[in-house]
Amino acid sequence: MSTRTDEQTHGATREPFDVNDPEVSRFDIVREGARRDDIEIVHYESQFPVPGTKAERRLTRFVTWLFLLVGLFSTAFVVAYVWWPWKYEHGTGMTKFYTPFLGLTLGLALLGIGFGILIWGKKLLPKEVSIQDRHIEPASDEERALTGSTLLYMVDELGVRRRPLLGVSLLAGLAPVGAVAAAPLIGGLIEQPHKNNQMFTTGWKPIAHGNTTELVKLTHHDGTPVRPEDVSPGGQITVFPGIPDGATNKHADSPVLLIHLRPTDAEEARAANQRAGHGDYMWGNYIAYSKICTHAGCPASLYEQQTNRLLCPCHQSQFLITDNARPVFGPASRRLPQLPLTVEGGFFAAKSDFTETVGPDFWERP
């Protein structure tokens, strides 16, 4: 194997090379071309020194087969794409195998090309070792001085030093141009987060009709109002404000979990409510909490009946329903807001909006 010193001496004693010399083989020309790029092919060896051996023919045959299989699988892909029943049908049937079959044929066809040319390149082409000079020597000090002076000369020619006013005025002019670029972007995008007090109100806010206000009903997902009989003891349902689009994402902060506690748990919850100053928030044994986790806003919706804990499946915050939905485990730091309940004409309604901020925390939350 040649070393770096060999290469250098080689460069010095390079013989004149005639490309048109009939004596020179094509490989010699290739080697000469590489040398002119500071590359020395130090080892170049056919993997089959004796041509046409069994091993070589076997490899060639194998690659040939691979390429033929590519044709087969590609055709199978197109045939399946066009004629296989593809339209989704409910239940089981041929259509279920449409995508897997496409994947299988396409994958095998591509793997066929891949392995075919990989084996061709790796096993049939000659092995070689070439050495290229990296040229890591940095430019000489002289070169650097030349380039540096060229740059400095440009600055001199501009004459900013002699005419400082130009530079100052240019900077003074350019700064507002940057602002021009930023203004439409920021100005167009920026939104006041506290428009209509939106971060502190939800769909449960009583609707004002002149002097009277109408309380918002608790409704099912389909908009029908909820009666106390709809929830059996120990059960819970998700309810939405009974306003237009109340159950849609337009009121993403409004989903509420309505729980019908068992009598003993209800006692406990009521006592806890008293302590928190939420004495009249429950209605009978019914209690309602915002479903939107105070941690990251996922719906805290896994209710464990035995322990009265509410678990948020995103980050496992757990809230104890019988203790004002206080966070008892996990990353949440704030209790779930409670919705004050009442019953009007046999249907549940919200006495008022939440008295605490719903959803994930933010800087200016009081």
Partner: protein, 539 residues
Amino acid sequence: MKRRRFDIAAVPGKAAREVDDRLQVNTPLRSLLNKVFPDHWSFLLGEIALFSFIVLLLTGVYLTLFFEPSLTEVTYDGSYRPLQGTHMSAAYASSLDISFDIRGGLIMRQMHHWAALLFMAAIVVHMLRIFFTGAFRKPRELNWMIGYLLFWVGFLAGFTGYSLPDDGLSGTGLRIASAIMLSIPVVGSWLTSSIFAGEFPGDIIISRFFIAHVLLIPGLLVALISVHLGLVFKQKHTQWPGPGRTNSNVVGERMFPRYAIKQGGFFMIVFGVIALLGGLVQINPIWLFGPYEAGVVSAASQPDWYVMFLDGSTRLMPPWEINIPIGNGYVIPPLFWPTVVLPGILTVLPLLYPFIEARINKDRRIHNLLQRPRDVPGRTALGAMAVTFWVVLTLSGANDVIADKFFISLNAMTWAGRIGLIILPPLAYYVTYRICLGLQQHDREVLAHGVETGIIRRLPNGQFVEVHQPLAPADEHGHTELEYVGWVVPKKMNRLGALGPAIKGFFYPIEKPVEAPVSPGHPPVEPRSEQQEIGSGKH
């Protein structure tokens, strides 16, 4: 008129002359064809990322032809019966159409998703290779930084991408993202309402994510990848040390034909694997999750794997809320630390790592030779520490599933994660450091005493000794004076040619072996005088 004979053999030469007359590409082309690349399997990890990115572009363009980035409410009437008549966004409906009503749309969607996962995985594994072999050292600090930024830009591409279908799972992810932005002190609520154009979810976020996902982020990725590859090309690839390899040369194969052919084949294999995954392995079955509704979530909601470490850090974070009692009072929610501060640290520290390491080592030289991880125990141990930190976070991102499947208490899993996150990384540092030193020590032993032959010899006095095969002519004590150079030391006799060449053939040999393999009963105990260099037996 004399008809000129058309000589087909002369056409390529003539055409080439015409092109060169105009563009003068002859000499640059030759040096491009001849450019030498060092070869090692670990240099191909980055290629997987590049090839997955190409598949992402191809399948992604296809998907844009059918996807409708809009939150307008529609009633689904496609062929997936369980959701017929459901109100949903146009984005979700068109994603369902891609899955069910566009011929071959599902495989494209699944290939796109799989390619994205593979893209990120390849980036991470490639980055580990670069880190543990010291390939980021001078002069390649800039490329390390670009590569590291590529991870985060890819992360954003992935997040904006899987938010687009607006299914139950992606909507939940979006909600968490909005909460994360909201948690930033002072500007949080302004930032969130500006991005969502009002309160979450608003009706424009999917359109904004769409343009980011199909234009802005891919544009940035293409630009960064181009610079990344350009720098590899300009600075030439690093290489492992070994016989004939120095800091100032590149030993390997010329780019054409063999190297380029192998690359092409590898691309097709990556593409093929993605196609197999896309067809055979279901991913993100959005039709099962239903449309996003703020009040609906399912258990085991996990993000894609490369986001899971942040999910894990969020789960492990204790509920530490900072209250600032000024005026009405201000809050820094606990969510801020694991999702804004931690990624911030994780972005800046690794970005500067090459400079930090060079400064500590007072190392200002240029390095083109790689280091084996065992030869730089400090860095390797630090890397193992970082990987352990990441693994604990990622596992914690799935702690509810682990708790469920292995019947462990969920709270116990969270506590295990919290404690593990503090205890395991330093432990990993210590263990890795010792393993590195042990491996080095063993290399030195082999250099001094030779390879263990596995032959136990009984001496006339009854003593048993193991016969060693020295790697160089030994002195009277059987010791050799070989310098430790930080490269592979042969540790098995067949590395020294003690066994004959492998016999090829499936049922019977294709060719008769030239000579029978040396029986293991006759070890070549005599040191071979021509063996001078320490090598792996490979080039």
